[in-house]
Symmetry: C2
Subunit: 151 residues, 2 copies
DNA sequence: CTCAATGCAAATCATTTGCACACCC
DNA sequence: GGGTGTGCAAATGATTTGCATTGAG
């Protein structure tokens, strides 16, 4: 019961290779390294965190290459990009992961995830009402943790 | 039937004055000018557009002051700030306007607005499920206009 | 008078770009 | 070999900051 989803690095790498070949991009070691490090992340990350991670792992990969490669990974849907805060973009790996939306705990910048089918319904209504095709959406709740009642 | 809502500049100005006094901020002419120009806007705007508008109206107000004042106006809920695109922030006046969410038409960066009560329901579910208080939310649909069927 | 607010210019920070060199194809 | 990809450093663009001056209270 339930679909077995395979998003191990090996599978994801194959997907990336397909994309690179289909679009005439070179298969450089840097690109694989970046993909691997991204898929080793548990949650969300920004470019600077990724850059530091690379440095610690002794990979001499420049920021320019990180930005370049993120563009490729976005195009083949292996990562997703968010603009939660106005400063730096936040990314997360996204291959075969269940689509979800986010809750930002403003106290500590913690990021939670949730799925709610009603968003899909709203989306359908909007498409009909405005005669548009919705390509994607972003729903973020900004919240505070409820204080424990120590009555 | 229905509540009469007053968001003329005069009323909004009173609200701003209350806020300034309550927080010990000075009532400078620049602040009133900025509020007035913002409320003369029909839709959304960014800081640069506002700056140019000021210049054309012969108001010698610096960008620094614009940024400062936006902060005050955000605090007293007279404007709302969005991060639709990752570059520059987008603002809109918000006093006693019906809360709404946005559709971004990616072809031409047009911004549409909609209200859907189901978001409020989702919000309540999330608050219960995660034991948090949601302060605000942001829902954006990125869409393309549907091509006319000329069959 | 005093200190917060302003205007200007310089500083910052994420991201982009230009260019010489490296290496995938 | 040829041209894309890379690293580096410089450029960009939005926003912030430092500081001398102004003016609201």
């Amino acid at each position: 019961m339930g679909v077995v989803i395979d998003n191990t690095y090996e599978t994801v790498r194959k997907h990336f290779i397909q994309y690179l070949e289909a679009n005439g991009h070179r298969k450089t070691p840097e690109r694989y390294t970046i993909l691997k490090e991204i898929y080793a992340y548990d949650g969300h990350f920004d470019i600077d965190s990724l850059y530091v991670k690379m440095r610690k792992a002794k990979h001499a990969i420049s920021r320019a290459t990180l930005y370049n490669t993120m563009e490729l990974l976005l195009n083949c849907n292996l990562v997703t990009k968010h603009a939660f805060n106005e400063n730096s973009a936040i990314y997360e790996k996204s291959f075969h992961f269940k689509q979800h939306d986010h809750i930002l705990i403003t106290d500590n910048n913690e990021i939670l995830e949730f799925c709610d089918p009603r968003i899909e319904e709203i989306k359908k209504s909007i498409e009909t009402m405005f005669d548009v095709d919705i390509i994607e959406h972003s729903l973020v709740f900004y919240a505070k943790k409820k204080l424990k009642e120590n009555k």
